[in-house]
């Protein structure tokens, strides 16, 4: 099967800082990839290059047939197909939960208000927040905000979802409600790249674990293999820390 996301020899420099060194990664449709690694290892950078929130310094990234790193390609089309969920939710504070979800379909896809509303309600129901339709983000708990943010990304019917530490800004008791939604999504066959250190999610949903350090992809494999018997010394050391 063709790769849904293909990263080839990606390098990214921020001035003298090397955020990505020759990272290569292929993600199959329906695959759930968990990206782990110490702080500053380039996990966020890799994700942010996939929808070109950051530009690669060299290398190539493909989403299906579309070359993200080609400046001639329609990046907005690609961004429609790549959903992103942020650590800090980034919900639009001046819009209600429903409006947060319906904005992009209305503005970008130009679907009618009624269709957008129906879609929004369906997605709110899917993340278990039907009764929060008219509520503003400020009045939602962190877990609820993140679930709205997931629904917002799903509203564009993406082919890939990127999650950058979706639960690390949450109080422990709210982590599960967000992970449940993500596991559900994974079961439905969504292609996902998830930066997270939640072992629960790794066990329940991840097909592949990628360990990054210092901008490099050090090791990748099925979670059982990487967690139980990491091959690389750096992976072993890191896992000892977090497990």
């Amino acid at each position: 099967m063709a790769d849904r996301v293909r990263i080839v020899n990606a390098c990214k420099y921020f001035g003298k800082v090397v955020a990505l060194r020759n990272a290569s990664l292929s993600v199959k449709p329906g695959e759930v990839v968990l990206v782990i690694g110490p702080s500053g290892s380039g996990k966020s950078t890799m994700l942010r290059c996939i929808n070109r929130l950051e530009h690669l310094s060299s290398g190539e990234i493909w989403v299906d047939e579309d070359k993200v790193t080609d400046h001639a390609s329609d990046i907005r089309k690609i961004r429609e197909e790549v959903g992103m969920v942020f650590q800090s939710f980034n919900l639009f504070p001046h819009l209600t939960a429903l409006e947060n979800i319906t904005l992009a379909p209305r503005v970008v896809k130009k679907i009618s208000d009624t269709d957008a509303r129906d879609l929004g309600r369906k997605l709110l129901a899917r993340v278990g927040l039907s009764e929060k339709e008219t509520v503003f983000p400020e009045q939602l708990s962190g877990g609820q905000q993140q679930r709205v943010a997931i629904a917002r990304a799903l509203a564009m019917s993406p082919k890939v979802m990127l999650f950058d530490e979706p639960t690390s800004a949450l109080d422990p008791e709210m982590i599960k409600e967000v992970l449940d939604v993500m596991v559900e999504l994974a079961k439905e066959g969504m292609t996902m790249l998830v930066v997270s250190h939640e072992m629960g999610f790794a066990r329940a949903a991840a097909h592949t674990v990628v360990f990054m350090d210092n901008g490099e992809i050090i090791e990748r494999g099925p979670p059982e293999a990487v967690f139980a018997a990491p091959k690389e010394e750096r992976t072993q050391r890191f896992l000892k820390h977090i497990l």
């Binding site: 907005r76 961004r79 800090s88 980034n90 639009f92 504070p93 992009a104 503005v107 970008v108």
Partner: protein, 284 residues
């Protein structure tokens, strides 16, 4: 909470006069500190509020008292002035309206990634802020006069708008920059263009942040509009002078003029404060 300082208090500094603090997820509930123009009496600041009350009602009472108990010359003066008050409002409202448009473009220009637009906007702001308003008014008046014949009041409005556009531009810039960058990223990641994101996500949040400082610029402009009296625009100040030059009641005429300006600016200060309070309460 983000704080936006008044554009004027920042001088010619190029740094964003905004220091976003606290929860970066929410670009809201921003509070604005103003060091220029009238003191804003919020209900929280008891001392300021009562000072406001004393000044406002004191000025009002004084006007009424003079009108009733010393009709000559005060009654005549007060009957002579209303045309000027209207003119002052006319100039102020038209100027602020034009300045808002200029300011929005200047502010957007200042944050534009297009180098040339950015440069032009920045030069505009720096040049305007470096020249006294009175000089600008003279200059624009005579510069315009060389090109086209425009009514005095229009020349006055253009001069005020060009000048205040620069200050409002700085407020807009600071306001836009006080919105957390995650907002733009989230919008872009959904497939919106930068323009769509600006219009639908960034500017609506900016309005909340900039309304109070804009209110204060309005008050400052109301006061500065007295400068246009040198352009044969019969605003409040000029009406006062006209009256005085006929009757030689200079002291009395300017007493009334000063009190009327005071009542007006204090009134609007209170309005701005209430608006700010409401916005903080609503929390969004």
């Amino acid at each position: 909470m983000a704080e936006v300082e008044s554009a004027k208090s920042t001088g010619v500094s190029k740094e964003a006069p905004v220091s976003p603090r606290g929860d970066p997820r929410l670009g809201r509930g921003a509070r604005i500190e103003v060091t220029d123009g009238a003191l804003i009496p919020g209900r929280g600041e008891k001392a300021t509020f009562s000072a406001w009350r004393i000044s406002f009602f004191g000025a009002l009472a004084l006007l009424v008292g003079l009108f009733l108990f010393k009709p000559h010359p005060y009654r005549d003066i007060m009957l002579f002035l209303p045309d000027g008050i209207l003119k002052t409002f006319e100039v102020t409202v038209m100027s602020i309206a034009c300045a808002l448009i200029i300011g929005l473009f200047a502010g957007l220009g200042r944050i534009s990634r297009v180098r040339i637009i950015n440069r032009i906007a920045t030069i505009y702001v720096e040049v305007i802020r470096g020249i006294p308003l009175l000089v600008q008014i003279f200059y624009i008046y005579y510069a315009l006069g060389k090109l086209i014949q425009v009514p005095d009041i229009l020349a006055a409005v253009i001069a005020m708008a060009v000048c205040y556009g620069a200050y409002l531009g700085e407020i807009f810039r600071a306001g836009i920059q006080s919105i957390h960058k995650g907002q733009m990223e989230a919008a872009i990641a959904l497939g919106l263009t930068r323009g769509q994101a600006l219009r639908r996500i960034i500017l609506p949040q900016t309005v909340r942040v900039v309304l109070p400082p804009l209110g204060n610029e309005f008050i400052a402009l109301l006061k500065d509009s007295s400068l246009v009296s040198i352009l044969a625009v019969s605003d409040l100040l000029r009406r006062g002078r006209e009256y005085a030059s006929k009757t030689f009641d200079y002291f009395e005429a300017f007493t009334v003029v000063a009190l009327v300006y005071l009542v007006m600016t204090l009134f609007f200060s209170r309005l701005v404060a209430l608006m700010e309070e409401r916005m903080n309460q609503r929390g969004r």
